[in-house]
Symmetry: C2
Subunit: 306 residues, 2 copies
Amino acid sequence: MSTDTLIITDVSPRDGLQNQSVLLPAAAKVELVRLLAAAGVPSVEVTSFVSPAAVPQMADAAEVLAGVLKMAPLLRASVLVPNLKGLTRAIAAGASEAAVVLSATETMNQRNINMSLEVATAVCEETVQAARQAGLATRAYIAVAFECPFEGLVESSVVLALCERMLAAGVQEIVIADTIGAAVPRQVTRLLHDLAGTVPLGQTAVHFHDTRGFGVANAWAAIEAGVRRLDASAGGIGGCPFAPGAAGNVATEDLVLLARKSGLHTGIDMDGLRVALEYAESWLGRPLGGRTMAWHRRKQREAAEA
Amino acid sequence: MSTDTLIITDVSPRDGLQNQSVLLPAAAKVELVRLLAAAGVPSVEVTSFVSPAAVPQMADAAEVLAGVLKMAPLLRASVLVPNLKGLTRAIAAGASEAAVVLSATETMNQRNINMSLEVATAVCEETVQAARQAGLATRAYIAVAFECPFEGLVESSVVLALCERMLAAGVQEIVIADTIGAAVPRQVTRLLHDLAGTVPLGQTAVHFHDTRGFGVANAWAAIEAGVRRLDASAGGIGGCPFAPGAAGNVATEDLVLLARKSGLHTGIDMDGLRVALEYAESWLGRPLGGRTMAWHRRKQREAAEA
């Protein structure tokens, strides 16, 4: 793998769609993933095997995964699993890669999943171990790795200890996640520096939200620190549907343009990505897109008017 | 001056308002500048002594400057001057700091001001020299320093040569401007590195537009390179009024939040800045604000709904 290549995992079908008020049918989710794969996106987080009662948007996880495996067989398709029960469902549906989410603070775990940090860590460990034994590739998110909405700034040492436990459990990829989009580049540089001796760069991924508009800046700080695996979401889908573009993931198209203008490669075709984006828009009924897309649309409009 | 302090020049009254279809009366422009100064903004580009026929939005330059000198006497207030004629008007109106704009490419100068690059450079030189002789502080923008809409990528050596001529003419501050918002952080890092031996860091400023959403990332790259003087625009005002937020300057409030979360100081109070911003909104009749402001507004709305 060239160090000039960014590996983008598009999380729009999961992190994006789980936050929408509009429910897409399984076939539409599969088509979105197929279009992303056709655009050259190498890795997609396609769904989540969480409790359907907790997240009704993901109740069709098995159907979506089966469709993706059929329609985009060459795609690296990962699924979120909250625990052994979710993993069992994922394996039954044919998953070859599973991701667990571990929030870095006590209060976030209590509020979000009603577990202590220690219990949540143990659940993630056993889930990763079981996934590895079943032959699946695994990712572990360290959520709120920079700042927690309840506890504030998170120490590097806390994140480091959780990464060590996940690596010891056998995880292949650690995803450092700024879940609430609160980090600035300086924090990204510092945390990645602090993690460098523990998590190999080749196993480190980052996951930024654009809540305060710092998503691209944070992504660049991670790239400068040597990270080449980045999560993003086509159109910046995600977050609050009432504040378009304000709180979703960093947009895939923004990272693609950033990469191209920086002499880095993503393998993603912007026109193909736009097709996927417009497909998602047709379902969600509102314009999507990071800043790049707004710029692109203005150029198109100006060309049409000229 | 501490290296932890960013000196932000707010250009909203000039770079912002010159691009609006709504014409503000001079008194409203003065009030906007006064509110910015009251918020702690240390430096404002208040108007432009260009030809009123070319830019009718700036026809009231003398009146605006006189009002600012009266209402915000402690503010560092600079004005744009295109040539000796503009400088003469600016001096007559009481200016103590003047800025010239020199585009880095032949075609941009031909298309924009109908001069060759060499003639434009000579005009800037004589204007800076005359301003210095009259006791004014001076800034020189190197516009389209990264990419020109007509000629594409701009070589560092070209920018370097123009900086040398401006410094030789006696200019105190060189403003490296990504006029069309096309740069990415890697280009910023590279150009600032290439300039380092020629333009002292203490005399280097940067001016980014957020056209593709890379404004904050570019600003951070400049800060990492040691630059502490940054242009920004309250609310990200500027650019095309038909694509809100798409093509204006990087927003002052975004840099203030970036600085605060990075342990850097700007001296700017966010609440005061918001007052200035809301005043501008009341005149322009549309919501303004960088990503930070969208986030802030959502928090306010959520708090109100809770």
